[in-house]
């Protein structure tokens, strides 16, 4: 009998999914339903879409089903990005590896992981359709991939499982992701603002 699941492509995709799944959370808020989030750093920083984290508090469900209380710490509707802080306590969080959206070429394989239609840890495979740039920097990653609303806030990764974007919307059948470079810039600004307000308070 031929065992198709152990072909090299399938095995690798399974490994990528099970690794990535540990860094993807479900974000539950009152009213807006569930979206996805990415564990950006192991100290409890979650990145998601602003349209997923519309309330001050959110319940974060880890890949193994454990639930943690989250506080929305930054919210940028223009970029559609938000951060949620969780206190991991004794839980060891696995941060996602961040990739380089600037290296993406049309045709490159991409993987999305999220919770479409409330199904947890669902994976989708596709390719880069186009990387839209502005002043040389990636602005949107358009992917030929089948996404659903619950994918919002979840990762789009390259073929090695490195996060290149945050899945944000579906337009004309294409998945549209905010590039990881935009996330980094957003996090730097959040950090700078926090430093400023802390020093003012001092």
């Amino acid at each position: 009998m031929i065992d198709v699941s152990t072909g090299p492509l399938g095995t690798e995709l399974e490994a990528l999914a099970s690794t990535l799944r540990q860094s993807v959370v479900e974000v539950r808020t009152r009213g807006t339903g569930a979206g996805s989030g990415i564990i950006w750093s192991a100290d409890g920083l979650i990145v998601t879409n602003a349209h997923v984290a519309r309330t001050e508090h959110a319940t974060i469900v880890l890949w193994d089903g454990r639930e943690l209380d989250g506080v929305v710490t930054a919210h940028d509707p223009r970029r559609d990005l938000a951060t949620i802080a969780i206190d991991p306590g004794s839980v060891t969080l696995v941060a996602a590896t961040v990739g380089h959206p600037t290296d993406l070429r049309t045709g490159d394989v991409v993987v999305a992981l999220g919770h479409p239609w409330g199904v947890t840890g669902s994976i989708a495979l596709g390719i880069v359709h186009a990387v839209e740039t502005r002043r040389g920097a990636p602005r949107w990653i358009r992917a030929d991939i089948r996404l659903a609303p619950g994918n919002s806030g979840g990762p789009l990764t390259d073929a090695r499982g490195r996060v290149v974007g945050v899945n944000t919307l579906i337009a004309g059948g294409l998945g549209v992701a905010v590039p990881a470079t935009t996330v980094s810039r957003f996090l730097e600004q959040v950090q700078a603002r926090r430093t400023r307000s802390t020093s003012r308070a001092a």
């Binding site: 690798e12 696995v94 049309t106 045709g107 880069v128 073929a159 090695r160 980094s184």
Partner: protein
């Protein structure tokens, strides 16, 4: 800001090499993919098929003049319409100055069910892509406009807006055919390279693909059992004439609306496709012995097959633009 990570993605895996292959295929094949400005909406795609010859999807060419083409090297050149064939949804444009490579054509044997394929388009400046597989390969078939396509190639992939006229390529970037959503109510189909070559030859030579024409609109109808018995007909279906182009071959031969065609060249007909199959370009000018029923009585009429007018109405049918991408 990214914190410590316990994940170290492997390099050099099959997924990464697939990624490199696909991106390489897009890059190579994308060199010959062009954007065509010949409609009000977003540009359509085309392929630099032979030096100076661009192949496009007929339904996306909505004007015959002021057509410009944007090439992979960023230049924009003027193009002239060499001809179009609505029956296969193909059009050929000529450009003087295309300094981009022509498409590298794959062997027809590469068209196999399950083959991993990319559809490419250039509905703007950059080349864009979608990934899928060939889901069906069948034999020769006839389009609803009467064109003959060498093989039926259905795709499991997305034909995005502006993708019609773009190439279907294999994982190494060789062109298998031209994609269109205009032949099958929006479903993704590919016109195989062999058919494209044949149509290009004809369009470059004469500017058109000649097709026989009766100028009749027909609809299959069931015949009353009594009539079938009375006339000892082999078939209980016929084709009722619902329209006749004034001055067309059928009208000239005396066919009237309401006549029911039951046989052509002594063969029973029960589907308009039966008639279409007898109207190849080589039949133009030849008489067609047509058995009809008029007022309950059988009758034989000889129709001289004409040539389909050069600009069929469907070329300007606004619905065609909505249906196709």
């Amino acid at each position: 800001m990214a914190g410590p990570s316990t994940t170290t993605p492997p390099t050099g895996g099959v997924l990464e090499s697939l990624s490199n292959d696909l991106a390489g295929a897009v890059d190579r094949a994308g060199q010959s993919v062009v954007a065509i400005q010949a409609r009000r909406r977003i540009p359509a795609s085309g392929v630099h098929w032979r030096p100076g010859i661009i192949v496009a999807a007929h339904h996306t060419i909505q004007r015959e003049e002021d057509i410009t083409i944007s090439l992979a090297d960023g230049t924009t050149v003027a193009a002239t319409l060499a001809g179009r064939d609505p029956s296969t949804d193909l059009a050929v444009l000529k450009v003087d100055d295309a300094k981009v490579p022509v498409a590298s054509l794959a062997d027809g044997s590469a068209i196999r069910v399950g083959a991993l394929v990319l559809a490419l388009g250039r509905p703007g400046i950059a080349v864009t892509a979608s990934l899928g597989v060939i889901s069906t390969v069948g034999g020769e078939w006839r389009t609803w406009h009467g064109g003959t396509i060498d093989r039926f190639v259905r795709l499991d992939l997305s034909i995005y807006d502006g993708f019609s006229g773009g190439p279907l390529v294999d994982a190494s970037g060789r062109v298998l055919g031209i994609n269109t959503s205009g032949l099958s109510r929006g479903a993704a189909l590919a016109i195989p390279g062999s058919t494209v070559n044949r149509v290009v030859d004809q369009l470059v030579k004469t500017g058109r693909v000649a097709r026989g024409y009766l100028g009749l609109g027909m609809q299959a109808v069931r015949l009353p059992a009594a009539l079938v018995e009375k006339l000892s007909l082999p078939n209980d279906v016929g084709l009722m004439v619902v329209s006749a182009e004034p001055g067309g071959p059928g009208d000239t031969a005396g066919i009237l609306i309401g006549d029911v065609l039951i046989a052509i060249a002594d063969k029973p007909v029960g589907d308009p496709a039966d008639v279409m199959s007898l109207l190849g370009g080589d039949q133009i000018g030849k008489p067609l012995s047509t058995g009809i029923i008029r007022g309950g009585e059988p009758k034989t009429v000889s129709i001289t097959i004409g040539e389909r007018p050069r600009e069929p109405r469907d070329a300007r049918d606004p619905r065609a633009g909505r249906r196709g991408r």
